[in-house]
Each structure stands twice: as C-alpha cells, then as structure tokens.
C-alpha cells in the first residue's frame, strides 16, 4: 500500500524550489528531499520506532500548503489557542506550519530579541549564523520524517536572544492547523540562538481546527552559548485528531544551563524527540516530562543526553499516567563520550497504569565510554498506591476524589518545574479538570 503520495510531494517540492530559488535554504531543502527519498518511513524494525507506528499517519492524503505563506486563519482563531500570561509574552503564530508575522505580537525590544522569518535571516545579516546552525539535528535524528521537514523548510522562524540580554517576555509559539476541509500536514521549523549570557524562555502549544486530521511534523533547533539560560516548555493538549512528531534539538555550545518540560495531556499519535547535546565542558541540563493520557492517545518521549565534554551534569525525570486504551513510551538515551570524564547523569521514569487496556514501554539506555562518571537510571511501572488510596477513603473521601488527589500529587513534581507562574497554574488547572472528568 502506498503510504504517502510521493508524486504529490515531489510536485510540491519542485513548486517550492521555484518559488524560493537560489539561496541557502534552497540547498538545505534539496539535501533534505534527497535524504527523504533515500530513507524509508520507519517501521517497528527500526529500534528507535519499535513501539510507535507512523504507518497509519502516512496512509492519509494530506493537503500541503507549503507554498502558501498567507494566514489561513483569523485573529479570533488565534485567541482560542492563546496561553495564560500572553499579555506579557512574545506571541508567534504558526498557521499550518508557517510563521505568520501579521498575526504575531513581539513585545520585547529589538535590542534584546530578534525575531525574523527564517528566509529573511538566511538571506540577511544572520546568514552565517543560520548556515552554521541550521540542520544540525539531522546528525542525530536521521529518519525520513525529519528529512521531510527539512525538505520543506519555508515560512520558518529565526529567534535570536542578544548577548547579555535577559529576555523578560517569554516566547510563545502557537501552532494552529486548519483541518476544517482537508487532512493537513504542518511542518514548522524554528532556529533559535541564545547568545552568551542571555536568558530565553520558549513555550510551544498546538491546536487543530476542524474535524479532519492534522499531522504536525516539527523541528526546533536551539544553540545555547556560554553563561546563557534556556528554558523550553511544550504543552500538548490538542484533540485526538491532532498528531505530532517533533524534534527539539538543544546544543549547549558553551558552558550553559538548559531546562525542558514537556507536558502531554491529549492528542492522537505523539512523538517527542528531546535532545540535549553537551558540546562544552561544565554544561547543566534538567529535563522533565509528564504524560497524562486518556482515550486512544499514544505518546512517545524519546530523550537524548549526549555528554561530549567533561564535568557535565544532567537530570531527567519523566512521569506518565495511562488510562483507558492509551499507550505511553519512554526511551531515554544517555551517551557519555570518551572525553566526558566526571559526567553526572541521572534518569528516572515512573509510570502508573489506571486501566487494564492501557500500556507503557519504558527503555533506559546508557552508553558509557568514559571511566570516571556517575550515571544512574531507574524506571517503574505500577498501579496507584492502594494503601494511600485506602487511607484517604477511610477518612471519608470518595474513591474518585482520592484517586485524583494522588494523581495530582504524582504529577506535581513535574508541573512545579514550569518556571513561568501563569503557565504553571494553567497546567495545574488542566490537570485538575482532567482528573475530575471522564477519561474513556
């Protein structure tokens, strides 16, 4: 069975190359499409895709709006996706994967934060920076899905935190897919650069409009320089018709600090690749994830911490609760390269199964090539603590309420890692509503 209409893709690709010819991105796309054609879509035989099947996603006929940069959505539709704290945020709107400056609001000054369409950055004064840093994630994620995103880089965004600037206004990226009439494939691409001694907070969220299916195939590449602080948050609460494969590739190119929190509450098939590449000595990274699943949701978190230089520290905590027929996957890889002596790397994954039809696959992987390191990993899969449940019920608290209290407590250690207060409260509220509701 033909999985995706290659002819249609090829046609769209050629169209795009004609619209945007003869520049840096034209070459990057060409290379991407070559790779896409060379690779096959991953199947369960591919170790990285053993527990997550994308074949159903590629059986649909998608509408590609790769050549349309005009906003396909209205300002009022943007209002529906806005996250709390937006009054104080730089709000970047992506319609069907394309950055739409007309719908976006930049609140930080240009001396602090530069936000440009990726084409403009690639053809202007940031050309060298784009050339140096765009596409680095392909060295780590080299499957056809990633290559497909690269094949259609157009309408992406370039975000640059200026040296020495603490950016007070977080950057919110709203991804809206309009699936009112067709299945839609959205392929946002972002390149982020946090210069020395800057601080930058990124927040991403997703929404599908309409009842057809959306598939967001996203790549975010971030380079963080010395003394900089990067916080990255991903909130996934789209409907069951919203699927997602996303790679967030963070390179710590100077001694710096990175902090990521990925919260998945709803959606169809979701795969999050979150990579931290420690290219400088003394890097520090904290990675958190919460997946609280219902219905038929499938959420796969693949994390990678690549220790390449000495004296790096990383701590990783992912927690999952699976209800109904949902499935969770956690795969955490830690590399410690020969030069990465004195590495401290920790990883924990805890899972609770609430239903007999829910399942989870968890796979920690350590590959250590240095001899003076401290690494640990641990994972648990279990049911809700029956003793604690009985204790609460024995005081007159209903079973449902007691269960919600325990799950909220379980999730809290992840949610409290969201350092943007209004966003943290929002996540707490979403979780409370979820725990009160019907999760079938």
């Amino acid at each position: 069975m033909e999985r995706i209409n290659l002819e249609y893709l090829g046609e769209k690709f050629n169209q795009l190359q004609t619209i945007d010819p003869d520049n840096l991105l034209t070459d990057v796309r060409r290379e991407g499409f070559k790779n896409f054609n060379k690779k096959r879509l991953p199947t369960f035989k591919n170790e990285e895709w053993k527990y997550t099947s994308v074949s159903d996603l590629f059986k649909k006929e998608y509408h590609l709006t790769e050549d349309e940069l005009k906003p396909a959505i209205s300002a009022s539709q943007v209002d529906e996706i806005r996250l709390p704290g937006f009054e104080n945020a730089n709000e970047l709107v992506f319609a069907n994967g394309k950055y739409v400056p007309e719908l976006s609001t930049i609140r930080s000054s240009k001396d602090q934060l530069v936000i440009l369409p990726l084409e403009e950055a690639a053809n202007g004064i940031y050309k060298d920076l784009v050339k140096e840093h765009l596409g680095k994630s392909a060295l780590f994620i080299n499957d056809a899905i990633h290559a497909l995103n690269t094949s259609f880089i157009y309408g992406g965004v370039f975000i640059y935190a200026v040296k020495g600037q603490i950016i007070e206004n977080p950057v919110y990226l709203y991804h809206i897919s309009d699936a009112a009439e067709n299945h839609i494939l959205s392929q946002p691409r972002s390149l982020v650069f946090a210069d020395s001694s800057s601080k930058l907070q990124l927040v991403e969220t997703y929404k599908t409009i309409g009842s057809m299916d959306s598939f967001t195939n996203e790549v975010v590449e971030v380079a963080v320089k010395d003394n900089a602080i990067l916080e990255y948050y991903k909130i996934q609460n789209d409907g069951p018709n919203g699927s997602h494969v996303g790679t967030t590739h963070i390179r710590q190119i100077g001694k710096c600090y990175a902090h990521t929190v990925v919260v998945s509450l709803d959606g169809g098939m979701i795969r999050n690749n979150t990579n931290i590449i420690m290219e400088a000595a003394g890097n520090e990274a904290h990675m958190y994830g919460l997946y609280l699943l219902k219905g038929n949701s499938h959420v796969d978190n693949h994390t990678l911490v690549d220790n390449r230089m000495p004296n790096c520290f990383s701590n990783e905590l992912y927690k999952g609760v699976m209800d109904a027929r949902s499935t969770g996957v956690f795969s955490g890889k830690i590399f410690v390269r020969p030069d990465a002596q004195k590495t401290n790397a920790y990883q924990t994954n805890n899972n609770i199964l609430l239903s007999e039809n829910a399942s989870v696959n968890t796979k920690p992987q350590l590959e250590i090539f240095a001899d003076d390191v401290k690494c640990s990993h641990g994972c648990t899969v279990g049911r809700l603590d029956e003793e604690a449940l009985f204790y609460l019920r024995a005081r007159g608290i209903s079973k449902e309420h007691a269960q919600a209290m325990l799950l909220k407590a379980f999730a809290e250690s992840i949610i409290e890692q969201i350092k943007i207060e209004s966003l943290k409260e929002y996540a707490e509220q979403l979780i409370e509503e979820r725990l009160k509701g019907d999760n079938s």
């Binding site: 603590d385 003793e387 604690a388 009985f390 204790y391 609460l392 019920r393 024995a394 005081r395 007159g396 608290i397 209903s398 079973k399 309420h401 007691a402 209290m405 325990l406 909220k408 407590a409 379980f410 809290e412 250690s413």
Partner: protein, 279 residues
C-alpha cells in the same frame, strides 16, 4: 440524645425514692463475623456489642486477628467477609464503601499511617471534613470556620502547626504520625473510633499526649475500641471492658482487671483455659 433515661419514683415506707436507669444506646453490634484473606480464614466468628459511651479494649497475641478485625470494620478490600453481620447505628455497614463508613461516623486510627507525598495534610483534612458534611446534607465549611476548627483541635491534641502544612505524614516521626491520627479523629468527630495499636512505637511523653487527646474527645455519645498489646495505654484510657482475641475468636471478656491479669500472666493461662474447654 444517644442516651435514654428511665426514672422510677417509688415510695417505700413513706420515703420517696427515685431510681434512675440509664440505657446506653447500642452503637456497634458484631455477630458471628467471619473474614478471610487469600483463602485463609482469620476471623472465625466474632461477637461483640459496643454501646455509646463505652471504651472496649481488645487484646491478644500476635496473629490472633486484632488488626484484621479493625481492617474489616473500616472496609479494607483485600479482606473477604465470609459470614456474619456488623450493625453500626442501625445500618449494616458491610455493604458500605470505606468512605461511606467513615461518613457514617466510623474512624480507624491506623497502626501504620501512610505517607502520601504531594498531598498537603491541611487540604486532605479539609476535603475529608467537607465530604462528610456533604454526605449529611451540610454546606462545606468556609475557610475561616475551617481554620478556627483546626486551631481549636490542634490545641486539644498538642500537634505542631508546621506538621499540617507538610505532605501527609511525609517524614513524620512515629509519634507525629500517631498524633496526626488523633488530630484527624478530633477534626472528624467520629461516633466510633478504633485505635489500632496506636500506642506502638510511642515514647512515654507521646503516649501521654495521644491518650490525653483521646480522653478529651470522649463523651457519652461516642465509643472507642482500643486494640493494644500493652497495659500502659489502658492505664490512661481506663476501659469499661477488656476482650481477649485468640485464633480469630473472642475467648474471654472481662473488666479492666483482666488486662492487669494478662499483663502479669501473659496469654498462656487463657490459651490453656480455652484449649481445655475445647477438648
């Protein structure tokens, strides 16, 4: 009024004599209660009546079924009730969920209170108090009234305020956990309290505080069942009745003097007595 009074006025040789009878209301009536866990019968026909205002002590060697009895009464699901009935204030509670038993006024002070990280003690108790109120058709307590009630009961059981802002029992010492149980009892004002080895692991000072807390909550409308191995808690609580549980049955009942006798002689003399009867 949980207590009824019957008054006789009689004249004997021209003198008026008033005789008052107090009839204590029956609170708990356990009849031929049998329960097993994983197919093994632990309770083999328990009979026990507890009236309002009374304190009953249940003693017995390890493995005799004391804690099982407490668990079955509170509704722990891993125990299967295979026979008998438990009437609590006119209702058969064996059909009720643990939460409904609690809302009806039954309280189990746990032998091993559970640590629950991430759930604040105050929030937990507030939820419990308000769910009970809702069950009885009362509106929830507002924040001010709740804090006032907390303060009053905190003084009563001498519990430190800082414990209540922490997660339930997390990192509490043994004494603090038991005090927290008595504090919850004070907040929920149960009709029947079961103290399951509340004295175990307590030093002398903590035991005194816990026992005083329980004593302050005693009145003629409430009853207490104390499960214990030791005389020292009974010294404080002064039970009306003492029962000896052996091999899943109550084999001997008496007054508080029975506890003293047990303290002195151990359980062997009862075992001998019981066995010779059985033969």
């Amino acid at each position: 009024m949980d207590k009824e009074e019957i008054i006789f006025n009689i004249q004997v040789e021209g003198k008026k004599i008033i005789i008052k009878f107090y009839i204590r209301k029956k609170m708990l009536s356990i009849k031929d209660l049998r329960a097993s866990v994983e197919g093994k019968e632990i309770l083999k026909g328990i009979n026990l009546d507890v009236n309002a205002g009374e304190v009953h002590a249940i003693m017995g060697p390890n493995g005799s079924g004391k804690s099982t009895l407490a668990s079955v009464l509170a509704g722990r699901e891993e125990y299967e009730v295979t026979g008998g009935s438990v009437d609590f204030l006119g209702k058969d509670i064996l059909d009720l969920s643990p939460e409904d038993r609690a809302r009806e006024g039954l309280f189990l002070a746990f032998q091993y209170p559970v640590e629950i990280p991430g759930v604040s003690t105050t929030n937990f108790i507030k939820t419990a108090v308000n769910e009970k109120r809702k069950y009885h058709g009362q509106p929830p307590l507002d924040a001010v009234s709740f804090m006032k009630l907390m303060k009053e009961k905190m003084n009563l059981v001498e519990i430190d305020k800082s414990l209540l802002t922490r997660s339930i029992n997390e990192g509490f010492s043994g004494g603090e956990k038991k005090k927290n149980e008595i504090f919850q009892m004070a907040m929920l004002e149960p009709k029947l309290t079961i103290l399951d080895e509340t004295d175990s692991g307590l030093d002398i000072d903590a035991l005194r505080i816990v026992a005083n807390g329980v004593n302050k909550l005693r009145d003629e409308n409430r009853a207490i069942i104390v499960i214990t191995h030791y005389q020292r808690l009974l010294d404080y609580l002064q039970p009306d009745f003492v029962h000896v549980l052996l091999n899943g049955k109550i084999v001997k009942s008496g007054t508080k003097e029975l506890a003293l006798e047990l303290e002195e002689k151990g359980y062997d003399f009862i075992k001998d007595e019981f066995l010779s009867e059985a033969v």
